[in-house]
């Protein structure tokens, strides 16, 4: 039976659907979902556990008794919820998460948001990766070891370094591993006490400074010169016999490439220090220039950035540390080795100068597998095409964004940017009173994400965009159009921006309680006790 009563012929113009508006009429999913603790009822079960075989109980003569004081007296106050209800709750939360697959994610500058190929997920959910125990006999994991060995080889060539460790769990962990190696290197030379300073720049990721401090070094941070380039005179003034190392990003988070990078490295070397290259921003220079050519002793890549592994809400990620032969003895153990004679891959744990373990076992293997597959799908020409396209996309977006009223591009006037740009809304802020964060909130109403900058905000009212190779010209045009529209609103209808979000999952958050210890609620039980009084 037709649901549509016969209405006679329809003229084509009445069947025609109007063109889409310039900007999509997005609304984020909004399920008004309760907290997991408010779901379910006593007795509901999400999954059942194998019961103890009666024959085992009989053999043991009863249940296993625990020592005094070590038996749980009160069950954990976890919710009791049926399986589909748990699934539905988390699916709703997933829908209320934008995710890089769904949006034109060029707004998360410094983070190299790119497409994580779905086929690579298949390899790691395969039981032949997911079901491996890290201490299986080497003979049973030859495929996994070969992948790790091959990936090391690929990254050696991409960086020009002599050895690469895949153990660190993320970029910051790789920075820390590099600092630990630097510390080990100088300890072996009897200079651990005297070389206690690490130099970095303010536009290098905060973890360079923070990891150096955590590892026991004094941190010296260089600020840029008037043109936004790392200040070479400041470096000359900072280096000396106490210098252990320079930790530096290039291009920096401004997207500006430091043309004197080799000179920076030489200055540090001349003072007896080492130079470590934070290659978080490597995406625009793959196959163009390498850590080796610039003279670095160590470098690291974020495999979840440049090499495509998914960002997973903030990890698991993966880091890779590349080092020269001189630093290789200090690499985390074990290394993966290949014995050509037997054709076997094996793990070398007997490395007396090693910094030891940076994390358990061999690294975040699923992401190492994904990164390997990604590089293999591209090859040398493909990696270069990644870099060139990312840089083209960035300069194309730069060209479009700088035409928007109220935005500026501080530093290095007229110079190109590599793979990202730190913009400033200072003028727009002065004209309208709207801050960069507010532009980001309003941009979310159009189905996109936007990020300002790491702290401190050296660039006033900052915005950092990094359009990797994954985005089409249409994607970039759409993103620029969203920014242009929000800027127009800031000038013509600032209340709309000021009161955003309007099409989000939730409305404006009242953040005051987050900094008040009397009421802050990092858990359900603290909320109940401190806020509800129950």
């Amino acid at each position: 039976m037709s649901a549509h009563p016969a209405a006679g012929p329809v003229a084509p113009e009445d069947a025609r659907i109007a063109d889409k508006p310039a900007l999509r009429r997005f609304h984020q999913a909004s399920w008004d979902e309760k907290l997991i603790f408010e779901l379910g009822s006593p007795g509901e079960r999400g999954v059942l556990v194998p019961e103890v075989d009666p024959e085992i109980t009989e053999a043991l003569g009863g249940t296993v008794g625990l020592p005094a004081g070590l038996c749980r007296q009160t069950p954990p106050a976890l919710p009791e919820i049926g399986q589909q209800q748990v699934l539905r709750h988390y699916l709703r939360l997933s829908q209320e998460t934008l995710g890089a697959d769904l949006n034109v994610d060029v707004g998360q500058g410094t983070c190299t948001m790119k497409y994580s190929p779905k086929v690579n997920d298949r390899f790691v959910t395969d039981e032949r990766i997911a079901g491996l125990h890290p201490l299986q006999d080497e003979s049973t994991v030859q495929g996994a070891l070969e992948i790790l060995h091959r990936l090391e080889g690929l990254l050696k060539e991409v960086s020009g370094m002599d050895r690469v460790s895949l153990q660190p769990g993320a970029g910051s962990a790789a920075i820390y591993a590099n600092v630990a190696m630097i510390r080990g290197y100088f300890a072996d030379r009897g200079e651990a006490e005297t070389r206690d300073e690490i130099i970095t720049t303010i536009f290098s990721h905060p973890s360079n400074a923070a990891c150096a401090k955590t590892a026991g070094f004094k941190v010296i941070t260089l600020h840029p010169d008037a043109d936004g380039y790392p200040d070479i005179e400041a470096l000359r003034a900072a280096v000396g016999p106490r210098t252990a190392a320079l930790l530096i990003t290039n291009p920096e988070d401004t997207g500006i490439y430091n043309p004197r990078i080799a000179e920076f490295v030489e200055i540090v070397h001349a003072a007896g220090g080492l130079a470590a290259y934070d290659q978080a921003n490597a995406n625009g220079i793959l196959g163009i220039t390498r850590a080796r050519e610039a003279g670095f002793d160590l470098c690291h890549f974020n495999l979840h950035k440049t090499f495509s592994t998914p960002h997973a809400c903030g990890g698991p990620a993966a880091g890779a540390c590349g080092v020269t032969e001189a630093l290789a003895p200090y690499l985390p153990r074990p290394t993966v080795e290949y014995d050509a004679e037997s054709g076997r891959y094996w793990l070398d744990d007997d490395r007396p100068h090693s910094v030891g373990k940076i994390r358990p076992h061999h690294g975040v293997v699923p992401n190492l597998v994904r990164a390997y597959a990604w590089i293999m799908s591209l090859g040398a020409e493909g990696l270069r095409e990644v870099a060139e396209t990312a840089v083209l996309n960035n300069n194309y977006l730069l060209h479009k964004v700088k035409q928007i009223r109220g935005v500026s591009v501080p530093y290095a006037a007229g110079r190109p940017r590599v793979e990202q740009v730190r913009y400033s809304w200072e003028q727009l802020g002065a004209d309208t009173g709207i801050h960069s964060e507010q532009i980001g909130v309003r941009a979310a109403d159009f189905g996109t994400h936007y990020w300002t900058s790491h702290h401190p905000y050296l660039v006033p009212e900052p915005m950092t965009l990094e359009p990797t190779e994954s985005y089409s010209r249409a994607d970039l045009d759409e993103y620029a159009a969203i920014l242009a529209e929000v800027a127009r609103e800031a000038y013509e209808d600032p209340e709309t921006v000021r009161t955003a979000p309007h099409r989000s999952t939730i409305h404006r958050v009242r953040p005051e309680a987050l900094d008040d210890p009397a009421v802050w609620s990092p858990s359900w039980r603290t909320y109940r006790r401190k806020v509800l009084g129950t």
């Binding site: 625990l66 990890g315 990092p522």
Partner: protein
């Protein structure tokens, strides 16, 4: 809109654009260059000096541009792995084979969660809520108020918990009681080095548990920031001395830091109940696949004590109101602690770590509930005890400290004259992965809820044949 030209000639004019790089299409590239006013992409590299340019192609294998080629290549590699989960495996020792509920896989595989990163609450409300719920569910399991957004792994959690204790007390020495995994100890030693001296207090050889007198003496020497112990120990032993260690630590003004296996906490007392100020460990057992050791994520639990909360380096999400009645909002609690806010003046550092594993563990705990956690604990305790009993009965096998309670892991000593390596090689011939070799004549075996009585009997029968 005019459809793009797609005559066969046009399609075959040049190598196809790589599927991951839409703007590799030459006409698009040219149009974009024209828009920018650039002669070519080289213009954008003007700041990179010639001396450091790589003027050759990277020397990499030929690309596998089609998905089919790539799958074929990867298949050739994967086929050379034999997963522990497809054999009868008794490997544990910090990475555990448990059943992973299908709903955990489904949620962790959701594209939104898998690919999200650092969105704000207005784009990523669901991510914030899922992480806050993980913190809250773990807090109930650990019986504490505060649990962090996960750090990389349990090693890192131990290292950071100890440094937190150091910052709270301002003291230098860290007493590590009993057996700790040598790799974990390596990480702890490296990580605390700038501020702390690690003092190892070996186990009492008579009991396999902590040497309480030795701990007391070490504490009496003073300057102790923390006493660290594990529940269960590296060898799976549930040490009756754990509560006393906490008292001793507190008597001397030290904090008590306990590393634990969270899947045991439906039956074992949460360390906070016997005095732990900081509880730490790895959530891999809570529904995260082993993935050749890639399934880790570290937790640190504490009570809502400002001294402790102020020392967390990680993000801590908090629940707050919004402008709309009955609507939940989330944000960062005490953000100024972090290196994101303060660079080197923040606590250690914060960065991308293991958030998705936290979401997975939250789903796991939601599915299991209080009954599931108790039952899985009871099953593992029973399986461990049964495995010890069966193996101890084999001539040529001894179970050190068999009279103690073990959870999942337990030690085995081979006394029949054959080496662990030889015995394990013979087991592999029979499709069995023996435990972790800890000495030429010793190993660490592990059973969980996934094993059956028949599995354990099969292991016992095989060992009986080959152990001598």
């Amino acid at each position: 809109m005019t459809p793009p030209e797609n005559s066969p000639d046009h399609l075959h004019a040049q190598a196809p654009a790589h599927p991951y790089i839409p703007n590799a299409v030459p006409a698009v590239r040219q149009a974009m260059l024209d828009a920018v006013g650039a002669a070519g992409v080289e213009d954008f590299y003007a700041d990179i000096p010639e001396e450091i340019r790589l003027r050759r192609s990277l020397d990499l294998p030929a690309p596998l541009r089609s998905e089919a080629q790539l799958v074929r290549h990867m298949e050739q590699l994967l086929t050379r792995n034999t997963p522990a989960t497809r054999t009868l495996s008794f490997l544990g020792g910090g990475c555990y084979q448990h059943h992973v509920p299908a709903v955990v896989d489904e949620v962790m595989g959701r594209s939104e969660f898998l690919t999200a990163y650092a969105g704000e609450p207005y784009e990523d409300h669901g991510r914030f809520q899922a992480m806050w719920e993980y913190q809250s569910l773990m807090a109930e399991l650990l019986d504490v108020d505060v649990v962090n957004v996960p750090v990389y792994d349990g090693f890192q959690a131990a290292g950071t918990a100890l440094r937190m204790a150091g910052r709270v007390t301002g003291l230098r020495r860290l007493l590590i009681c009993g057996d700790v995994d040598p790799d974990k100890l390596s990480k702890i030693r490296d990580y605390v080095r700038p501020d702390h001296d690690v003092v190892l207090v070996p186990t009492d050889p008579a009991t396999g548990g902590a040497d309480v007198d030795a701990v007391r003496s070490a504490l009496a020497e003073g300057d102790v920031a923390a006493v660290y112990a594990e529940a269960p120990s590296r060898l799976g032993l549930v040490d009756p001395a754990l509560p006393e260690l906490g008292e001793l630590a507190h008597d001397q003004g030290a904090l008590y830091v306990v590393g634990c296996n969270p899947i045991s906490l439906g039956v074992l007392a949460p360390p906070s109940s016997y005095g732990a100020d900081l509880t730490c460990g790895d959530i891999q057992p809570l529904g995260i696949r082993m993935s050749y050791g890639g399934g880790n994520a570290g937790f640190i639990g504490a009570n809502d004590d400002l001294r402790l909360v102020s020392e967390y380096p990680t993000r801590l999400f908090g629940l707050v109101p919004t402008d709309v009645e009955g609507e939940y909002g989330f944000g960062d609690v005490a953000y100024d602690r972090t290196s994101f806010a303060q660079r080197e003046e923040g606590k250690e550092w914060v960065g991308t770590a293991a958030a998705l594993h936290g979401i997975g563990a939250g789903v796991y705990l939601s599915l299991m509930g209080p009954h599931g956690m108790r039952e899985i604990g009871e099953t593992i305790l029973a399986h461990t005890a049964y495995a010890k009993q069966r193996l101890a009965a084999i001539p040529g096998v001894e179970i050190p400290y068999a009279e103690a309670v073990h959870f999942a892991d337990f030690p085995v000593r081979f006394t029949g004259g054959r080496s662990t390596a030889d015995i394990h090689a013979d087991l592999r011939e029979r499709g069995i992965f023996g435990g972790i070799e800890t000495a030429a004549d010793q190993a660490l075996y592990c059973v969980t809820e996934v094993h059956t009585k028949a599995d354990i009997d099969e292991l016992a029968a095989a060992l009986e044949e080959i152990v001598k």
